[in-house]
């Protein structure tokens, strides 16, 4: 696709989407930096690479709509309009944070946005059904959207939820972000029948989309959400996307692949295990190789990584893209500064 003409409706929409993506990306990069500086505790799961899916879906929501999120919830929350400073303060563990410092990044909640995250795989399924049930009861055309990963479809409660939304005809959109990985396992090897067939087994229409192309996501999601508002059936959006940061910050596979020293330190003791009692040698070598493959695939360089940001930017007039980036960056930077000052970490 080539660049649209400045001022056209397409460019205007894409600019809006790109703005949402930039805010999400920069906010996540800020979190990554804060985490590496040791100012954020515990795990940190980022949604870097999921921005097109998030922006393409969330920008269709309006007041009274609801969000059921997994542990990569910063991008959708930012996209939904949650203010940056309280969000950052939350992850910095401040009492002034979005949730008083009680939640951290895995359990972010914003009642005004009817949005809640969970660190339990599959949990967005039941939650979105409830949010949808309330919306249906209210009868004002509200919808509820869930985000979850490809690995999550094997969690019973998620499958149950796809069914529940189907048979109760709830105004719910299930968005599956398929990055093909669940922590250190390839989902394809552990998802019988494949992802698309699985998601389609509950009587819900499934739309597949390239989740790195925000305009495509936008079009499809727009159609699905509009249909839900008119009383149409719950639906599934299956969006292929890729993440650059592994499962969480400090992902051991990514680290091993990245640092020769770490890899050697990991592999040496494994090589020693090729001798001594145990499985036949061929089985051992096979196991060792399969670990190596995981490291290579998970952590290796991504020559073909189609960064959704870059794909979107390339379609905008250069000047527009840069302006959006600058203003988003400035906004995030100033929120980070304010949050750091407020927590007294400014000079850390």
């Amino acid at each position: 696709m080539n660049r649209g003409a400045a001022g056209s409706p397409r460019v205007e929409r894409l600019t809006e989407l790109y703005r949402v993506m930039c805010r999400a990306r920069f906010a996540e990069q800020a979190l990554r930096d804060l985490w590496h500086r040791g100012l954020v505790s515990g795990e940190m799961h980022l949604g870097i690479g999921e921005e097109a899916v998030v922006a393409g879906v969330v920008t269709h929501l309006r007041d009274g709509d609801a969000l059921a999120l997994d542990y990569r919830s910063t991008p959708p929350l930012v996209a939904r309009g949650v203010e940056l400073e309280p969000l950052l303060l939350e992850v910095l563990g401040s009492e002034d944070g979005l949730c008083g410092g009680r939640a951290g990044h895995m359990h972010l909640m914003s009642r005004p946005h009817l949005a809640a995250a969970s660190g339990i795989v599959g949990a967005p399924g039941p939650l979105v059904c409830g949010l949808g049930l309330a919306a249906k009861h209210a009868g004002a055309g509200g919808v509820a959207v869930a985000f979850f990963g490809d690995g999550a479809v094997n969690e019973g409660m998620l499958m149950e939820s796809l069914n529940l939304a189907s048979v109760w005809r709830l105004p719910v959109l299930f968005v599956c972000k398929d990055n093909r990985w669940a922590v250190t396992t390839r989902s394809a090897a552990l998802t019988g029948g494949g992802l698309a067939r699985r998601l389609g087994a509950f009587g819900l229409p499934v739309a597949r989309v390239d989740g790195t192309d925000v305009e495509r996501v936008d079009r499809v999601a727009g159609r699905l959400v509009a249909r839900l508002r008119r009383g149409g059936p719950a639906s599934v959006l299956l969006a292929r996307c890729e993440r650059g940061e592994g499962h969480f910050l400090g992902d051991p596979l990514v680290r091993m692949a990245g640092a020769a020293g770490e890899l050697t330190a990991e592999v040496r003791p494994l090589l020693r295990l090729l001798g001594g009692p145990g499985a036949p040698l061929s089985a051992r070598v096979g196991a060792l190789l399969s670990i190596g493959r995981r490291v290579a695939v998970a952590g290796g360089p991504r020559p073909r990584w189609r960064d959704p940001m870059r794909r979107a930017a390339r379609r905008l007039p250069d000047r527009v893209a840069r302006a959006v980036e600058r203003s988003a960056k400035a906004e995030v930077d100033s929120a980070v500064d304010a949050a750091l000052r407020r927590t007294g970490f400014a000079d850390a």
Binding site: R102, G130, A134, H137, G156, E160, N163
Partner: protein, 338 residues
């Protein structure tokens, strides 16, 4: 006050709540049949039959509560909560805490509990201690129709999650469906004052965390809940014949626990027998010992609980659940010691 059965009392409380507040909905497997009165009166948008998917169902109820409804979700038997515990432990109980107090979920989980009709240990558990052990959940176990109605009324209006347990031995329809109660020769040890009683109309709410003394006495305190209360009253009667004045405390709420009521009665009598249909290590009987110890109450202590998996055979089942003779033995072990 009209005489009402235990189950009808709950229905009455629900009907009042549903008539008063359009946000109250009933969700669960077979509820259009089980709660057909509510279904016929309030229609299909208020009473929804669920697929056999307790985790999604419970989580759906929670989500709807977070978004403004006041769901009463039924998990047919409390035993089945085990397939959906995550939604209580990691979600419902934690919404308020994780949101820094900014968000609460007015959810009622209703489930049948308890044994004594021969269904064995996968369908007859109490499990109230396990649930009450989770910070953020309230758990109530009524022992009379009036309390059943009153606690349900309170639960529906409560801003946080409440687990409401309905003992099957007090609910005629459960005994009929599950126990085949109308068959010849089939008998259940149903406490009459638990199964039928006076219920105010409209229902009088019973506050959470408030125990009630069912019988006064100075010599020994029998602390119980649910069906156990009635067993204790029987025991108190027998003990009275032996010149021992036993008090009977009905906890009604497992969480919050009415610490004050427990310690007051323990202080007065100096002897406490906890009668808890839940497992010995389920949590409640231990918690009462801890409360007494923490508060430095000088009282001797014994407990009558369910020690293992509830067996099928009626004779074994009777011996496993707290029964009059075991309670009597425990009480005497304290009163005769002094």
């Amino acid at each position: 006050m009209p005489r009402t059965t235990f189950a009808a009392a709950i229905d009455q409380a629900l009907a009042e709540a549903m008539a008063r507040d359009d946000r109250v909905v009933v969700l669960g497997e077979d509820v259009r049949t089980l709660r057909r009165g509510l279904y016929v009166r309030f229609g299909g948008t208020r009473v929804l039959d669920a697929p056999i998917s307790e985790a999604a169902l419970l989580g759906c109820a929670l989500g709807s509560a977070m978004a403004g409804l006041r769901p009463v979700v039924e998990i047919t038997f409390v035993d089945f909560v085990a397939v959906a515990l995550d939604q209580l432990l990691n979600h419902a109980a934690k919404v308020e805490a994780f949101s820094g107090g900014r968000w609460r979920a007015p959810l009622v989980v209703r489930a049948a509990c308890g044994g004594g009709y021969g269904d064995a240990g996968q369908h007859e558990q109490a499990l109230w201690g396990l649930l009450a052990g989770i910070p953020g959940l309230s758990v109530v176990v009524p022992s009379t129709p009036a309390d059943a109605a009153g606690l349900m009324a309170t639960a529906v209006d409560h801003p946080g999650p409440v687990v409401f347990l309905e003992h099957k031995l007090l609910s005629e329809y459960w005994l009929d469906y599950l126990g085949g109660a109308r068959r010849p020769g089939v008998e259940f040890d149903v406490p009459a004052d638990g199964a039928v009683g006076d219920v105010p109309d409209p229902v009088l709410p019973v506050p959470l965390g408030s125990a009630v003394v069912r019988r006064r006495g100075d010599d020994v305190a029998l602390v119980s809940l649910g069906v156990g209360v009635h067993r204790c009253l029987q025991v108190a009667e027998i003990l009275a014949g032996e010149g021992v004045d036993a008090a009977v405390l009905d906890l009604r709420s497992v969480a919050p626990l009415d610490r004050r009521a427990v310690t007051d009665l323990a202080q007065l009598t100096g002897r406490v027998v906890v009668v808890d249909e839940d497992y010995t290590r389920g949590g409640l009987s231990g918690e009462i010992a801890a409360v007494l110890a923490e508060d430095g109450v000088d009282a001797t202590y014994a407990r009558v609980t369910t020690e293992g998996t509830i067996p099928y055979a009626r004779r074994l089942e009777t011996a496993t659940l707290p029964n009059v003779s075991r309670i009597l033995t425990a009480a005497r072990s304290l009163t005769e010691r002094a």
